[in-house]
Symmetry: C2
Subunit: 794 residues, 2 copies
């Protein structure tokens, strides 16, 4: 099982090994050069201080290991013709990844100014972490990368996402031993229980056990080898250990390990694909135990550096010290650049020939520019799923259930292209998307019992109780050119706040990279939302993901709050067609009144915001008050408030505005969906009170509208962090978003009502007392609340 | 090693076993009653529909297992006198936890209306998940709980946090097999590498392998037993398996397992404490494999329920069906309540006597009401650490380094009380808090090598590359009455957004529980912040945690942006003294100009916001412009802008305002630290332009100030999601927060300047071009930017 340093023979001929080692030296040389040099790239002159960058930025420690793995993967690709995608968990090893892609030629193909000659190498060095140059991580600018690796923890879930439905692909995923301590990474080892060897590709995890993180040893490097083996076997893998620091021995050991791993992968796939095996395979994984900063300076200023955490970043700086300059020169010359590059600075042909051909180069793997592979989903006509709404509010429906019927047929229509999946942490059915199970199952490769329902090796619904895993899978799936939807309890989507950040940043940066093609949008359905946590209570109430999302670049984020099923259908269809966005859809799963028939829904959603004429009474002129709402529950409460107001004051001119696309509220100068000021003023007036019932934290509405003329008249009710396990109506009451409070708010602010309103307000206040007493006595909401319906027209 | 169902003999006498089983039946009976019944609590009448709650809410599936474990822990406590804290990972099993604490008597001691008689049981049932009653989870209202268990994943990190520095304590931590799939839980198994058997308590993880989550089997239940064993051994534990469903066999097996586990724990502790062993122990852990919804209905409507996911929540509802009512009655009567409770409804004495005495009851464990144990930290005088600032801006200092010297002495002063720790994901030194290592080390119980630095079994700095673990440890530590600080890269603190949510919600709810005493505040130091990610770039830039935090209740959250070292010292001291808060401190770690001497810092921070007279030129009257700033980098840029403006327009009246306590901006009606409108207007004027340089997303300033008179004149610059690996000054330029943009903004808005300003603006614009060219050529900022200093007074 263990392929260790003691293996003196191996698959590599001396000649091949020597060329491979030359490649590795070249990659390491180019990596150090990126971190340190401005000029004199091939050290054709004696190194002088003016050749060195004034600010030394970057990470050396992880780099030689990445270069070593990259090289050896190329060897296997050459031998086997495998289609391999490379993921560098420690994306801070970009000097290495960039160097390898440069050696492969891809870099110069995409960035011709970084040519394959001395001048190109000078540019390669100079641009790294330099103003106007390239980032320090494996960012979208990096050929072959789908993983930035800045925030650690997501490499393996990305890898599993990329492998789904790509039966030919082997995703080689390097995991930092520090990264392996993060929660998201720690659970993503279980990805192997959701990977179908027959129809998915393979993931080859490579634990990069260089022993250290920034300033500490890593946990996995300081447990016994038996524990580490046990851990990997416990996660269901067959580990192969490659351990040592002598390059020759390590080349042989690594080559054997990859040979074995790739052979095992092929054997597993053959068993599943040709022999029909249904056993969960014990996929191989590799542990590479090698020194951090391998081949770098052993000591710096008398302190251990190679094989220690001190080599994590820039192993030494302060280049005004002559001994540092000398150390750098000695270090770089130890790679013997003169043996690696020709006179013009191009890589010697016998070394360059180690690169695989064309698209077999990992830096040119088409899956890494997934947008180029993306094909639009086949979408059935969403209007076919319309709920019949003969009259606004006359009928109830469960919005997400209806959406599920549409998703079912989206799934069905794309079964053959195998490019659509739905993700969720064990909540697909709870979120009422169960219609999906009419056409597919949950992916499950672990064992089953006869009673199990909807589990299958090739299921297309991915459920694991890890929001991190769902997000990571989906990102990996989208980045390699496919489509998907993540449904989640609204409160717990905060678990992936930081993953969303990183993805949004990736999309923004990728937009600026000429050769990257757009990927499908990341679609969230947030349901079981703040207002309807009947079984759960306070800990499950948090609508703040929207606030989090709108801090990201306006051209990337969209937030939709469809108030009922037909609007949700429109929005779903729209989001599934879009690209390079993050779409957040918030919708209820409980039975709720349906307001708009399909024609009305299409009209309304196309605008994103609009007056509901049938609910308004200001046709002939300016309204006395604007009642605005966004979200299903606020819409219900607002309409009930309007009904109350009409009862008290039949002459009152009320305008009802519903917002589906939250971004319409923002100024058109700040968001592409924003209304211009003229249109906004026309809707919200310039001087009338606006009572705004909002799904989430009320301050967001102010943040979006603070520049609007009538802003000082906008009075928002929303979630103010009050709640417990109580009745649905009590939840809105506690946060003053209920019909009674909204009606009181309106009465208080409509100047024309003057003192006439006082009596009505008293009555409404009494209602609140009645409510409080009633629910404590009966445990359910008052019939007049529960059974309230929008009045049907006479 | 495995204690299995086949064990027919065991430590329990038949008599004891029969009483224990009666307790378990009582706990299960009371659990079902809480979920289902309004009345007729002891089934003294035939069950009728009006005895049943109209809305059935809660979770049954996990409950019988929790009750079983609780009971058996009591047995071990009785036998050994152990001090045990109980953590229910699946906090949705609150019906069980509450039932057990009721059986122990604690519940009635804390809530006398829920008395130990029939009427008390009626109230116990009625209040559960009922309006005005108690939440459905193990919330702060629950005696003995420090863990709500709503958002799954944090039980084990809480447990490890609670065990630190509590050498007598055994934290029994039940982990749901679903919960175990979450990332945070998956990595927290490694807590055993940071626990010192000599001076910390023990954690006994109990994996509750009931096979299912909401609607799926769990991964750990569907791998082979060998894999599970291997996994637990790989994590460094010695697992003991208890498996089966026959109560008698299971009681014996469970009792043996706990006997063994507690004996092993004591042996490990003895080896470390008396025999001086320095080996990392293989702590025991238990796997309880039992049916989900154990003892519940086997089938409901013909579908498998006991031992299946269908028993997760309320196993059946729609009680208008007579067969459901009958099923409920049969189920509840199967526990034979008549054998459990006396005529008055009190628990039979021979059963009640199974409860441990007084504070040994887990529901009365003092550590679970940690506030009552909390002792204030001994704090050295922070002014002793002051940086000498002879003149504003004359000297540079590294704020967090200075803070570190203060923290070092805080650590030292409390070494003996062992109630202060510092937490961070491998960044304590990177964040410049290295002075701590002069008095303590990093906690490390895994293996070491001679070159290692600052690792020790009893180190008090907790570093693991998991923000989740750091947060979970700290929460567990605080909730059990101790103090701490979490230092983190600003961008990556979003990783724990949702954990922060849950903690803030806990603190808010606990505030409303009369018997809970306040706990120490959760203090964050966010450094390596958005503006100074020199080595990293875009993925490491996100100042949005502040936005996230301010959505929580105003009386809980505080945000501080000290601009230099002395203000940071004041703020740190203040935060370490506070309780029941979440304090967010954002401060730089790079060398930066120091503005205030200690006297000025104390004055300024006491107000939280104020005019910097020495930088202002509006002494004699109203200013022409207000230049406001919050955060170290914005303060620097604002002052540099003021210097530029003075150069161009010596007569200009400029007022400089600095904000340390961000909450002062909010209205006094919304936040206790908020300025009242009069004071705000006095500072910001009612009609003069305000140019506000802010550390984070600019919209937050608008959200905080939208109600202020002069709001429409407030023009905010902050991070607008632009960045890469570039120079520090280029970062502010890209986001238009630099001195040149700020000065241009001011000139544009000061009406009195009229067209005179145009020339200056042109010059400033040229500066930006010069900057862009310079950094691309040299890779560093222009000397006039780098070397700028606030002009010393003549
Ligand atoms: C989630 C997260 N927390 C903290 C950091 C800061 N950080 C950058 S590199 C690093 C150490 C990484 O160690 P490892 O994964 O072992 O990588 P390698 O040793 O290969 O560099 C840390 C903690 C980060 N990038 N992401
Ligand atoms: C982070 C998170 N995601 C999703 C949920 C929704 N949820 C509530 S209970 C549950 C299943 C829990 O299963 P397990 O941990 O096995 O508990 P048990 O079987 O003992 O009820 C889920 C997914 C949650 N509470 N927390
Ligand atoms: Mg490492
Ligand atoms: Mg379970």
């Amino acid at each position: 099982m263990a392929v260790e340093q003691s293996a003196t023979t191996g698959p590599l001929t001396p000649e091949l090994m020597s060329r491979m080692n030359a490649w590795w030296r070249a990659a390491n040389f180019l990596s150090v050069g990126q971190i340190y040099l401005l000029d004199n790239p091939l050290l054709r002159e004696k190194l002088a201080i003016e050749h060195v960058k004034p600010r030394l930025l970057g990470h050396w420690g992880t780099t030689p290991g990445l270069n070593f793995l990259y090289l050896h993967l190329n060897r296997v690709i050459n031998d086997t013709g495998s289609n391999v995608l490379f993921i560098a968990g420690p994306g801070h090893g970009a000097p290495g990844v960039v160097a390898s892609t440069y050696l492969e030629g891809t870099y110069s193909e995409l960035y011709p100014d970084v040519s394959r000659d001395e001048e190109g190498i000078r540019r390669l060095f100079r641009q790294f972490s330099f103003p106007g140059g390239i980032p320090s991580h494996a960012a979208p600018e990096t050929p072959g990368s789908i993983h930035e690796g800045g925030e650690l923890g997501y490499s393996l879930s990305h890898a599993y996402g990329a492998a789904l439905d790509n039966p030919d692909l082997v995703v080689a995923c390097v995991i930092g031993d520090g990264e392996a301590e993060t929660g998201p990474l720690a659970t993503s080892w279980h990805g192997n229980k959701f990977l179908n060897p027959a129809s998915d590709g393979a993931v080859l995890p490579i634990l990069h056990l260089n022993g250290y993180k920034i300033a500490n040893p890593t946990v996995l490097a300081r447990i016994t080898p038996e524990e580490l083996k046990s851990l990997m076997e416990g996660f269901g893998y067959t580990p192969v250990f490659v351990e040592g620091d002598d390059p020759e021995l390590m080349h042989q050991a690594m080559a054997s390990a990859f040979d074995k791993a790739f052979a095992d992968i092929r054997a597993i796939q053959k068993a599943a694909r040709e022999d029909g095996s249904r056993e969960r395979p014990r996929w191989p994984m590799i542990v590479l135990k090698s020194p951090k900063g391998w081949t770098g300076p052993k000591f710096v200023d008398g302190k251990k550096t190679e094989g220690f955490w001190r080599s994590h970043q820039v192993p030494f700086s302060d280049m005004s010290k002559p001994e540092h300059l000398a150390l750098l020169e000695e270090w770089m010359r130890s790679y013997k650049p003169e043996e690696l590059f020709d006179a013009d600075g191009s890589l010697k042909p016998e070394i360059a020939s180690l690169a695989p051909d064309g698209a077999l180069r990992m830096s040119a793997n088409p899956h890494a520019n997934g947008g180029a592979l993306r094909r639009p989903l086949r979408l059935p006509d969403f209007t076919d799923y319309a709920v019949d709404v003969p009259q606004p509010g006359a009928k109830d429906g469960e919005s997400t259930y209806i959406m599920g019927t549409f998703l079912r047929d989206v799934m069905k229509a794309n079964l053959e292209s195998r490019n659509f999946r739905v993700f969720g942490p064990d909540e697909t059915a709870s979120n009422r998307l169960q219609a999906l199970f009419e056409v597919t199952e949950r992916a499950w490769d672990a064992s089953t019992i006869p009673e199990d329902e909807h589990l299958a090796h090739d299921g297309r619904v991915m459920e694991m109780l890890s929001e991190h895993m769902c997000q990571g899978w989906l990102e990996g799936y989208l980045l390699t050119g496919r489509h998907g939807l993540f449904s989640c309890y609204e409160a717990f989507i905060h678990i992936v706040d930081s993953m969303f950040n990183q993805h949004a940043k990736w999309v923004k940066s990728a937009n600026a990279v000429e050769w990257r093609r757009p990927i499908a949008s990341l679609n969230y359905l947030l349901t079981s939302h703040v207002w309807r946590q009947d079984h759960n209570g306070f800990s499950h109430q948090d609508p703040g993901f929207i606030d989090h999302v709108v801090n990201k670049k306006a051209d990337i984020v969209r937030v939709y709050l469809p108030p009922d099923a037909n609007t949700l259908l429109f929005v779903t269809d729209h989001c599934l067609k879009s690209w390079n966005r993050v779409n957040v859809i918030v919708a209820g799963k409980q039975p709720e009144p349906q307001w708009l028939d399909m024609d009305a829904a299409i009209n309304h959603c196309t605008k994103g915001i609009g007056i509901w004429e049938w609910a308004s009474s200001d046709a002939e002129g300016e309204p006395d008050v604007v009642m605005a709402c966004a979200g299903d529950v606020p819409t219900l409460e607002t309409l009930a408030a309007v009904d109350l107001l009409r009862g008290y004051f039949p002459e009152l001119k009320i305008r009802v505005i519903n917002v589906v696309d939250l971004m319409t509220l923002q100024s058109s100068t700040e968001h592409p969906h924003g209304l211009n000021d003229r249109d906004f003023d026309a809707l919200f007036t310039t001087n009338k009170p606006v009572i705004f019932g909002y799904h989430g934290y009320p301050w967001l509405i102010h943040r979006l509208t603070y520049k609007r003329t009538n802003h000082h008249n906008i009075h928002v009710r929303g979630y103010v962090e009050e709640g417990s396990t109580t009745t649905p109506f009590d939840m809105v009451v506690r946060n003053r978003l209920d019909r009674f409070h909204l009606a009181m708010d309106a009465i208080e602010r409509i100047s024309s009502l003057g003192s006439v309103g006082v009596h009505a307000r008293e009555e409404l206040r009494d209602k609140l007392t009645e409510h409080a007493r009633y629910i404590r006595a009966h445990g359910v909401d008052m019939p007049e609340v529960r059974d309230w319906r929008w009045p049907t027209e006479a």
